[in-house]
């Protein structure tokens, strides 16, 4: 029997259920006896004693595994543990060994991933299922796999809310299911709705349920209502887990605070909460499935993982395949004196732009520079400054580190698949004519890009299993070297380098055409040995100065228009997430106006016309001719609203919401409108504001600043031209 692997989940203590959608459309479940394993390493006689001791309760075995990448296999104790028991047993063994004798491995390897690795399986795989087991018929390397068999439905509910926030005690009004553009509304009595929901989902044979806020409210709420009404609600294809209370958690990453809810995972059906899934939000279902296939993670888990965890799974898989154990608590601590840290701890190279308007500029980007460097130079935690190649390994410029020549690192092995696959997708995107196919490949390639981006960051992460700081620093040093080489080549070929930032270069030669720039790209590519992409030729581009020091440039703040009319803008207000929509609209309108210019003279004329656009918007603000949504500012809370020392607007807005019964945890966003100068009216949440009650002055100030950003580089910085003549 052939079919597609929809999902897997553990059942009981020692069984895994495979949910398979057969080619005829029926979904069947298939049970396999299986248990996750942990491994213990230590002195052999102690291992034997330990084995004897715990063999009374667990299945144990002695096997050969490498405890470090690249090291020869050693005898370790393999213990089969029932689901959910890994950590407890691991801690017990550590205690037995006084936290000295034993090292434990594979403890935090998620069980379902281990199952997939062991059976060389991946979600949505085409498999041939028989009594003897199954055979996988497609490969994770395929780029056109079939997903048309997946039936997706959007689920939403309307609640008879007693205030602006819905509560569990509020009664359910109706449920809306959207499938293939059709809208099904279930209404009537509450118990009737809930009873027919299970039946409707089964009748429609839904495979994927997408909700907005399913983890944080909707699914626990529906189950709570079912409980109150004594109805047996089932959203999956088998009994749902009991979870009445959403549990948020807050985490910190790259200077920002995020909030995540514990997932409400269904059995036999996939639930994705679009507001609780970064991958789904960025790349849609296609991208999400691409990541779960490549990284071999069940779709419901991949939807809720951080990208870093998805990327780690690729490394775990490589390690698993090679018989290398995954340390529980990695201790790859290295010591460095201040001097060498100061020398080594630097990021990418930045060549400051000279601020102003430039004509006929080309942008050249290295394609996935960091991952490609890691692949090309074999950079991994265990390969940089390895013990075995002290004299003979490849040298890293500037730092004098060496890289192993004998062993291919886990990290380069892991990123090879997404890197190569992404290149293939990009090639295909250029060839296909069909728009639908192009967006499909685009979202898959974008999803892989996310994985590649995190691959570098994880090298130096303290909990990374196969990383090290030295490897991280080595990649930065290599990247600087590459950009410097590229700059030299461009200059030698007669181009002026205007700006360079980590992996991109902006170059110019007055008479150069696309062909000249393409030749330059090819030359750099050949000499440096890394793929480069020619982003295009700007008709004109403006590099903006810093706000605080007008004579210094602000990197990554520019806007321009390509020869083919495409606009590109970075770092200006329109790109910021906390900019009210009206400001964004104005800036884009101004940019479109400026994009009409064909020469410097016309650009000045267009800039003067753009001033009129600004005045038009200012007039609308003054006359009250704007909707309240256009003024809404969305900001993420970085702390508890009551912990803010200065009364930040987002904290004030959160306090409003708290009074109305909605609690906001750090990492969640609030949307508000500025309604007054001080006190609680400083920021009123959009849910509570009345139409037209906004404070004019701050909005005029933001508007002027946004117009100033766009127009002064062209017309010069005279504040007078920004006067609003009504």
């Amino acid at each position: 029997m052939r079919g597609y692997l929809l999902d897997i989940n553990p059942s009981g203590k020692d069984e895994v259920i495979l949910w398979v959608k057969r080619l005829d459309g029926r979904v069947v479940s298939h049970r396999i006896k299986w248990m996750p394993k942990i491994y213990v390493h230590g002195p052999l006689e102690n291992l034997v004693k330990l084995g004897r001791l715990i063999s009374q309760r667990y299945f144990v075995d002695f096997v050969e595994r490498s405890v470090k990448p690249g090291s020869p296999p050693e005898t370790v104790l393999e213990i089969k543990v029932p689901f959910g028991g890994k950590r407890r047993l691991a801690n017990l063994i550590l205690d037995l060994g006084n936290h000295q004798l034993f090292h434990i491995y594979n403890v935090d390897l998620p069980s379902m991933q281990e199952f997939l690795y062991q059976h060389e399986l991946h979600p949505t795989a085409l498999i041939d299922l028989s009594d003897h087991g199954f055979e996988v018929l497609d490969s994770v390397e395929d780029i056109d796999y079939d997903l048309s068999w997946i039936k997706t439905a959007h689920l939403d509910a309307e609640v008879r809310a007693s205030s602006i926030a819905s509560r569990f005690s509020d009664r359910l009004k109706e449920i809306i299911i959207e499938i293939n553009g059709e809208r099904i509304v279930l209404d009537g009595s509450e118990d009737g709705i809930l009873e027919s929901l299970t039946k409707t989902l089964d009748d429609l044979d839904v495979d994927v349920i997408i909700t907005d806020g399913g983890d944080s409210f909707l699914l626990p709420y529906l189950h709570y209502r079912a409980h109150v009404n004594c109805v047996r609600l089932r959203l999956g294809r088998s009994r749902d887990p009991r979870m009445f209370k959403p549990s948020p958690s807050t985490y910190f990453s790259y200077g920002r605070v995020y909030c995540r809810f514990r997932g409400f995972k269904l059995r036999g059906r996939i639930h994705i909460d679009s507001s609780n899934s970064m991958l789904y939000g960025e790349t849609g279902l296609e991208g999400l499935i691409e990541v779960s296939r490549v990284a071999r993670i069940p779709v419901q888990d991949a939807a809720r993982y951080t990208i870093g965890s998805c990327m780690s799974s690729l490394q775990y898989y490589q390690a698993y395949r090679l018989g290398i154990l995954i340390p529980w608590k990695p201790s790859n601590v290295i010591y460095m004196d201040c001097w060498s840290l100061n020398r080594a701890d630097r990021g990418g190279l930045i060549l400051d732009a000279k601020t102003g308007v430039y004509w006929n500029v080309a942008e050249l980007d290295f394609k996935s520079l960091y991952p490609n460097l890691m692949l090309k130079h074999n950079i991994s935690g265990e390969t940089v400054n390895c013990e075995c190649c002290k004299d003979g390994g490849e040298r890293i410029p500037e730092l004098g580190y060496h890289v192993c020549k004998r062993w291919r690192g886990i990290v380069p092995r892991a990123i090879e698949l997404p890197l190569k696959k992404r290149m293939r997708y990009k090639d295909v995107i250029k060839q296909v004519r069909d728009d639908r196919l192009r967006t499909l490949y685009k979202s898959r390639s974008d999803a892989l890009k996310w994985i590649l981006v995190t691959a570098f960051g994880y090298l130096g992460y303290r909990n990374a299993k196969f990383g090290s700081r030295e490897a991280h620093l080595a990649v930065c040093a290599l990247a600087r070297d590459v950009l410097l080489k590229a700059i030299r080549i461009a200059e030698e070929s007669g181009f002026e380098v205007i700006h360079g930032i980590v992996d991109s270069l902006w170059v110019r030669r007055e008479d150069a055409g696309d062909q000249d720039y393409l030749e330059l790209a090819k030359k750099i590519e050949e000499e440096v040995g890394l793929p480069i992409s020619y982003e295009g030729r700007y008709r004109w581009i403006v590099f903006l100065p810093s706000r605080t020091h007008p004579d210094r440039p602000a990197n990554n703040r520019y806007f321009g228009v390509f020869m083919d009319g495409r606009l590109k803008y970075r770092g200006i207000e329109a790109r910021r997430r906390d900019t009210p929509p009206i400001i964004r609209k104005m800036q884009l309108e101004i940019l479109e106006k400026l994009a009409e210019a064909r020469d410097p003279e016309q650009l000045r004329e267009k800039a003067i016309e753009a001033l009129e656009i600004y005045r038009g918007y200012a007039r609308r603000l003054i006359l009250g001719d704007v909707s309240i949504e256009d003024l809404a500012i969305t900001q993420v809370l970085s702390m508890d609203p009551n912990d803010y020392v200065v009364e930040a607007r987002q904290a004030v807005a959160a306090k409003h919401l708290e009074r109305a019964g909605i609690s906001i945890v750090p990492g969640q966003a609030v949307t508000y409108v500025i309604a007054g100068a001080s006190g609680l009216s400083k920021a009123v949440p959009i849910q509570l504001i009345e139409e037209g009650s906004y404070r004019l002055e701050p909005y005029l100030r933001i508007l002027e600043r946004a117009a100033y950003t766009m127009i002064t580089p062209i017309l010069g910085s005279s504040k007078a031209i920004f006067s609003i003549a009504l």
Binding site: R343, R346, L349, G457, G460
Partner: protein, 97 residues
């Protein structure tokens, strides 16, 4: 992995901060010259960041010198003069008529 050390730009900013009493005593046009010099030094960050083991003031001075040399060269070009390394200007023959 986050950064553990200060970036070159941050070090430069700290160094300029240390000069604030010195700057305070400068007269207005001297102060302007000081600030303009600081801006010029920031323009050479890409090179400064490649030599982190060097003392920050050394890098500051070298960057300022280079910036001055470049400005001089630009002026020379503008004046259509080409000064030699030994500071001599090329001999210009006066037209005979």
């Amino acid at each position: 992995m986050g950064r553990n050390t200060l970036t070159y730009r941050q070090r430069l900013r700290l160094e300029l901060d240390r000069w604030k009493n010195f700057r305070k005593a400068l007269l207005r046009d001297e102060k302007e010259a000081f600030d303009s010099l600081a801006d010029q030094v920031f323009r050479l960050c890409h090179a400064g960041s490649m030599y982190p083991e060097r003392d920050i003031f050394d890098l500051f001075t070298m960057s300022a010198l280079i910036s001055h040399e470049r400005r001089l060269k630009t002026l020379e070009k503008e004046l259509k003069l080409e000064m030699k390394v030994d500071e001599r200007l090329p001999i210009r023959h006066k037209p005979i008529w």
